[in-house]
């Protein structure tokens, strides 16, 4: 057993932290929360130059051939920096879908472009039912000649408004079970019939309502097999959930670090507030939550990375981290007093990200249910 990171991983972490501190200061994060696009092409380009977009893609597709654990390290640092923009949707949600389900031609066409930072992608999975189960996929794709026509509404689609391509999970058949009859398409973001509306959300991330009105997609843009898409989605959700947990863990660690620093520096009653036992216990609870979150996430990520069955571990991680991140930011806010309640402060960035991450890919209840099933209950 070895619960440590390799030297290369530590180096990746340091490089990422230094880079993001310099290139993605909190002032930029706040600016991007208000900005319509939500990212800057300069930073996007620089990240691509560091090889981050292709970090976990095989070298033959323009990537660096690193592991999922390596990516988790990077995501942790992104969570710490509150990095805005389409990295997660492009690389994790869509890149992995193409890698998993795409045919050779599709992989050769799209993955190197993603790795180069030339493409921005969005995954259109959830619909107004706002769930992550196969029954919720209702949007229709109907064959017509060499094409399919997609019609319906997707909701909470991050970055659809800036996406070059949207990966859309559709229903092509009403099968015997809800899992059957789901098909994935890679849709050109500029296709006629797509309209996107940006939602204003707590974290200022760029989630959209996307209406597909008879959007034409060539058959060759199908990702994976007809009617067999749910298996791909399931696998993707597992990876994406582990990836999100890594990001959340990075955010929770940053909220803890900030709170400890503040507890040492803020003086009331002639002494640092960190000398009050109430505050010390808050910090002790926070660090326990953060460390618990880290290792439950690392275990899940390690399993994913090594291709081991990870359903149970990923769900345990998301159930735990969803609530731990919320507890940590809550105590962090309490420690900061009113200054932390101000919009200009950095604390709310973490609080809001914790809130946004909570329901994403299923909340704690949802994942506890998965764990219960895994326990044979």
């Amino acid at each position: 057993m070895d619960l440590g990171f390799t030297e290369e991983q530590e180096m990746l972490r340091t490089t990422a932290r230094d880079f993001l501190e310099k290139e993605c200061p909190k002032s930029l994060v706040k600016e991007m929360a208000e900005d319509e696009k939500g990212y800057t092409p300069e930073l996007w380009r620089k990240m691509a130059e560091l090889g981050w977009m292709g970090l976990a893609f095989p070298e033959e597709y323009g990537g660096m051939g690193m592991s999922f654990i390596d990516l988790a390290v990077l995501l942790e640092e992104m969570g710490r920096a509150c990095l805005p923009g389409p990295f997660f949707s492009t690389v994790v949600l869509c890149g992995f879908t193409i890698l998993e389900a795409g045919n050779e031609e599709q992989k050769r066409e799209f993955l190197p472009k993603i790795a180069n930072g030339d493409l921005i992608l969005a995954l259109a999975l959830t619909e107004p039912s706002a769930r992550y189960d196969p029954a919720s996929i209702q949007i229709k794709a109907v064959p017509k000649g060499d094409d399919y026509l997609i019609s319906g509404t997707k909701l909470f689609v991050e970055n659809a408004h800036i996406a070059d391509y949207i990966i859309c999970v559709t229903r092509t058949k009403n099968g015997a079970s809800p899992e059957e009859g789901i098909t994935i398409f890679l849709v050109d973001g500029g296709s006629a019939g797509i309209s996107t509306t940006l939602l204003k959300t707590i974290a200022g991330d760029k989630q959209c309502e996307v209406i597909f009105d008879n959007v034409r997609v060539p058959k060759k843009n199908m990702l994976g097999e007809l009617n067999k898409g749910w298996g791909v989605v399931e696998k993707l959700l597992e990876k994406a959930t582990a990836a999100l947990c890594a990001q959340m863990v990075g955010g929770a660690q940053a909220a803890l670090d900030m709170s400890i620093a503040y507890a040492k520096e803020r003086v009331q009653f002639g002494r640092p507030i960190g000398s009050f036992q109430a505050i010390q216990h808050y910090c002790a609870n926070m660090v326990t939550d953060v460390d618990g979150s880290k290792y439950v996430t690392y275990e899940a990520a390690w399993k994913v990375s090594n291709g081991l069955p990870a359903t149970m571990e990923v769900s345990m991680a998301k159930a735990w981290v969803s609530e731990a991140y919320r507890r940590v930011t809550l105590l962090g806010h309490q420690i900061h007093g009113s200054i932390g309640f101000c919009m200009d402060h950095d604390m709310p960035l973490y609080f809001k990200r914790a809130k946004a991450a909570e329901p994403t890919f299923g909340d704690a209840d949802w994942h506890r249910e998965v764990v219960a099933k895994q326990l044979g209950l």
């Binding site: 707590i202 809550l330 309490q334 919009m343």
Partner: protein, 398 residues
């Protein structure tokens, strides 16, 4: 023991309830209870309108003596009033004017001050803000450094206050300033009433975490305040702050607000279907809602107990119960906000104004605003210290 209200109290409750039900139809869309709504550009005129209406009905300052516009209403009636106001999310009661400075002047003001300030509050003409906290004097309020120097018939005030709620609309503020810098901490502080239009007062907005403008920084640069606006003796202002903080502190209003929110949340869960079943059929949801209902009942009991103790033993003797009710109320509001947010699922994130925001996006905002309520009026940690020290007699650490 008797948990019932008298027929008169029931009648009063019903009359107020009917009145507010009607009046709240005039509220701006998506109206929420709380300071952030009152101190917004759309909310402020409504707040003032409601204050006038309540004043016309004779409800605004019922606990005050008759000569100042009240009816000497007993504590229990104040609690009933606040509970119903909370339930309807009704603005109109200036927590700083009616809740704090009015009662303070009744106890510690001189006749001239009472005559000058109480009637305009009772008529809903003069609104107040509380200038106590400073950047370096929060929980440790007694370390404040704003200075007041005597100059003939005036004091000249210099310093900075912060987190001053509603200062951008208030007509007057009551502030604390140091009159004797030789004296340490709570000694050497005096209590002043300051017209916000005085030259040298500058209000700068501070935006709360969800972007609402609720509180402010207030700078005092050579602000001249007539000596007759000092409440109590020079250097003896600290004792007066205790009276200010100790008037009707049952926190029942919070319980009223939360009760209403739970009803709306429950209605939402009854209406909203997922996979052919309503949310209210989901056992997780049911138990969470039931738990909140229980917690609201506990909160209500704690609030009524506080008022009952206040009536029997006076304000200071019930301070620990008041602290307990405050902590319980604000943390209950927080649990409700979090539960509501979770039940909304992905929709919980969507801000007010979108067609996709359920219940006007109320959980997106309340899950943030509740963070502030654990700090405003004394943080939960400081309240817990009070419970331990004054309620339980445990040794003080500071």
């Amino acid at each position: 023991m008797d948990f019932k209200l008298t027929p008169e109290q029931e009648a009063l409750k019903k009359e107020l309830d009917d009145f507010l039900r009607e009046e709240m139809k005039n509220a701006p869309p998506g109206w929420e209870a709380g300071m952030e709504a009152m101190f917004s550009d759309e909310g402020w005129p409504f707040h003032r309108y409601m204050a006038r209406r309540l004043s016309e009905k004779g409800w605004l300052v019922r606990p005050w003596p008759r000569e100042y516009g009240g009816v000497d209403a007993p504590m229990i009636e104040q609690v009933i009033f606040s509970e119903v106001m909370g339930y309807h999310r009704a603005p109109g009661r200036d927590i700083f004017g009616i809740g704090m400075i009015g009662p303070t002047l009744l106890v510690a003001g001189n006749e001239e001050q009472k005559k000058e300030h109480l009637p305009p509050i009772a008529r809903a003409e003069r609104f107040w803000c509380q200038g106590w906290s400073e950047p370096n004097a929060g929980s440790d309020l007694a370390s404040l450094t704003t200075r007041a120097v005597r100059d003939g018939d005036d004091y000249i005030i210099n310093g900075q206050k912060t987190w001053t709620s509603g200062a951008h609309f208030a007509d007057w503020s009551f502030i604390l300033a140091r009159t004797n810098p030789e004296e340490k901490r709570s000694r050497g502080i005096s209590f002043f009433l300051v017209d916000m239009k005085s030259p040298g007062v500058t209000v700068r907005p501070l935006l709360g975490m969800n972007g609402t403008h609720l509180f402010n920084e207030v700078y005092y640069d050579d602000v001249r305040v007539p000596a007759r606006n000092r409440v109590g003796e020079e250097n003896e202002g600290w004792a007066i702050t205790r009276a200010t903080m100790n008037f009707e502190r049952s926190s029942i209003e919070t319980v009223g607000v939360v009760k209403r929110e739970l009803e709306e949340l429950a209605a939402f869960c009854k209406e909203t279907k997922w996979n052919g079943k309503t949310l209210s059929q989901n056992p997780f949801v049911r138990h969470r809602l039931a738990q909140l209902a229980i917690e609201i009942d506990v909160g209500r009991a704690l609030a009524y107990r506080t008022a009952w103790l206040q009536e029997k033993g006076g304000l200071l003797l019930s301070a620990d119960a008041a602290s307990a009710a405050k902590v319980y109320g604000t943390e209950l509001a927080q649990r409700l906000a979090y539960t509501g947010y979770q039940i909304m699922g992905l929709y919980g994130q969507v801000k007010m104004g979108s067609k996709w925001a359920p219940l006007h996006g109320s959980y997106e905002s309340s899950s943030q605003l509740c963070m502030g309520m654990n700090l405003a009026g004394g943080s939960s940690e400081v309240q817990r210290n009070m419970i331990a020290w004054f309620g339980l007699g445990l040794p003080r650490t500071i």
